[in-house]
């Protein structure tokens, strides 16, 4: 029993986080929007060069062979900067999925920077599809690996300008069919969405704190006033008690048990609630400025709102939690999902 990251885990996360915070500033996001660019190609190349896409890929396929828990801190950092590039979906969701399928060589191509977009039944639209070279799509229980030119895409605008969502029209065939199933893809997506929401929430608090130190009213920074302090403290408390749940979910997910699935659901619910409170609080602390395009809060608020329903809705996750709560024993000796493995 050790609920702390190892030095190696912390070092990998810190390296990625440093790069992301330095390169992906709100000014950089605004530059991409002004130029009509979906992603920053230089940063994407840095992500490839750092080997971040292969963290969860098997070692014999050119990856580091690490687990979701080794990647969860990077997902938090990606949320913290509202990263436009699909690092988290590729490295955390697509790579492990392809590694479990007859991938027809696509895993190596993803590690080299090509994008494979995923049309999972939990998500009504396919994200990152316009930049994709191929797709993993499902027809009934069957999975298909479909090349770009066999799919017709129709863009559906999101209010998050960096989310590029599409309806995908395609026809399954024997040639596209691959053996394998979604397995834990939706749960991995949910945990990584939760981790990103932790980062998004923390960024909202940090932006609001900086503003509260700077903005003066009645002759003092508004951050001196308890009414403002307490709003921000409450948002921070929510984040602090969502984070360990997300970390536990990342570790327990591979167990695949009902208790592990409920932990994932809890992580998603808790992180969504924390990000939601932090984003609303950041708007409130900024006053009328919080409603504007000029203040950066909206980038993080929008991403948090979108991720809240990605890979399963709060209502669905709450139902999973209630199922586990009533079907399996509860109590202090059942904190961890592994407690059910050992009787």
């Amino acid at each position: 029993m050790l609920f702390a990251f190892t030095e190696d885990q912390a070092a990998i996360t810190e390296a990625a986080r440093g790069m992301l915070i330095e390169s992906c500033t709100p000014a950089d996001l605004r530059r991409l929007l002004a130029n009509g660019e979906a992603i920053d190609k230089t940063r994407w190349q840095t992500i490839i060069d750092m080997g971040l896409l292969g963290i969860c890929a098997p070692e014999d396929k050119g990856g580091l062979g690490l687990s979701l828990i080794d990647f969860v801190g990077i997902a938090e950092a990606a949320g913290y900067v509202a990263l436009p590039e699909p690092l988290i979906e590729m490295a955390g969701v697509v790579v492990p999925l392809l590694a479990s399928l007859d991938d027809k060589g696509w895993l190596a191509r993803v590690l080299a920077g090509e994008i494979v977009a995923v049309g999972h039944p939990a998500n009504p639209l396919v994200s990152e599809a316009d930049g994709a070279a191929a797709f993993v799509l499902s027809s009934g229980d069957d999975l298909h690996l479909v090349e770009r030119d066999a799919v017709t895409l129709t863009r559906v605008d999101s209010f998050d300008p960096f989310r590029r969502l599409f309806c995908a029209d395609w026809a399954p065939s024997a040639a596209t069919h691959v053996n394998g199933g979604w397995r834990q893809t939706a749960q991995r997506g949910a945990v990584l969405a939760a981790a990103q929401m932790l980062g998004l929430g923390q960024r909202c608090v940090d932006i609001a704190v900086a503003y509260a130190k700077d903005r003066h009213q009645f002759g003092k920074p508004i951050g001196c006033y308890q009414a403002v302090k307490h709003l921000l403290a409450d948002a921070q408390v929510k984040i602090e008690f969502a984070r360990p749940v997300v970390h536990a979910a990342a570790i327990e997910l591979p167990l695949g048990s009902p208790a592990a699935k409920a932990r994932v659901a809890h992580a998603k619910l808790a992180a969504a609630e924390a990000a939601d409170l932090a984003a609303r609080t950041a708007v409130q602390v900024h006053g009328a400025m919080g409603m504007t395009w000029e203040v950066d809060v909206h980038f993080f608020l929008k991403r948090a709102l979108a991720l809240k329903t990605a890979w399963g809705t709060p209502a669905m996750h709450m139902a999973q939690v209630i199922d586990r709560m009533t079907a399996l024993p509860t109590g202090p000796e059942h904190t961890f999902a592994a407690s059910f493995e050992h009787g």
């Binding site: 029993m1 050790l2 609920f3 702390a4 990251f5 190892t6 885990q9 828990i69 608090v205 704190v209 509260a212 130190k213 003092k220 920074p221 951050g223 001196c224 006033y225 308890q226 403002v228 302090k229 307490h230 921000l232 403290a233 409450d234 921070q236 408390v237 602090e240 008690f241 969502a242 984070r243 360990p244 749940v245 970390h247 536990a248 570790i251 327990e252 809890h266 619910l269 808790a270 709450m318 939690v321 209630i322 709560m325 009533t326 509860t330 109590g331 202090p332 000796e333 904190t335 961890f336 999902a337 592994a338 407690s339 493995e341 050992h342």
Partner: protein, 381 residues
Amino acid sequence: MNLEYTPEQRAFRLEVRAWMETNVPKERLPSFDLTREGFEAHRDWERKLSDGRWGMVTWPEELGGRGLDLIRWLIFEEEYYRAEAPTRVNQNGIFLLGPTMMEFGTEEQKQRFLPSMAAGDVIWAQAWSEPGAGSDLAGVRSTCARDGDEYVLNGQKIWSSRAVFADWAFGLFREPGSERHKGMSLILFPLDAPGVTRRPIERMDGEKVFAEIFLDNVRVPVADRLGGEGEGWKVCMATAGFERGLLLRSPARYQQAAKRLIGLYERHRHELPASMAERVAQSWMDADAYALAIYAMCSRLAAGGTIGPESSTNKIFWSELDMALSQTALDILGPRAELAEGDPERWLDYYIFALAGPIYAGSNEIQRNIIAERMLGLPKG
């Protein structure tokens, strides 16, 4: 990172479980805040725990403990609450003064006070707050005037939990003429010393949970000061960190309460709207989230970390969780909730105690200030 218990940790759990199954009283003990008999029944339980060497498992063996790490302390607590064992009448001693003494006490003080604390022979009360010093604890006015090898204590303390029946207290006093955070010392004194008068304060439900303590020229040896002379504020803040952060409110307490809430919900499910399941699930999730956060904190402490302002986030989280949990129970009970005899599980008592959660151990308003100023770096008011 690894969220599985080792075989040794699992064996330890079973050892605690077996002892609790044999030894936890079958009948709920009478309240320790209502009568001397109830208080002494709890002292007997403390002695029984101590006979099994379960008085304070993290303490060194020579002081009456087992020298166990914090993960085993958590496992012990989980089994303690799972067995619904009696509330620790000596929690002010073992969870607050004990750890403070480990850090600041002399060898002589540790030998003199800790084994008797672990054994339940001396039950402790806290004497910090005063009528004019609650959230602003640096406003204490009770004095300790040095007279050779003795201090002469004078003043008035209030909201001292357990002090009605307890044996000793640890209190915050200041050198006459000193101001604010300077000149304070933490001093231990027997509650039956000449010049000490205790006056019980009844809680809204009639229990004598706290007392006022009046000190009129109470003489104590200088050797009974904990920490350096004039360093009482520093020592107190360490104690307050233990109180809010970790020891006083172990997560198992809320997980066991959530389990009972789930049981209550399931017994009444047929008469409840479906939405009630979500409230029950929220309390259960929050109790587990608190447990996970404490496991993470204990892992950091084991690696040499310290408890900082996160003790304040803990305090807000457990106190609000406790309130929501008991409110949900009362809503499930419906019109039965207000009846004195309407509910054998006594959720109303639980709720009344939960109401105090956002107040004691530093009010939640003060905790939010601490989080805002020390974690987030916002300016002081």
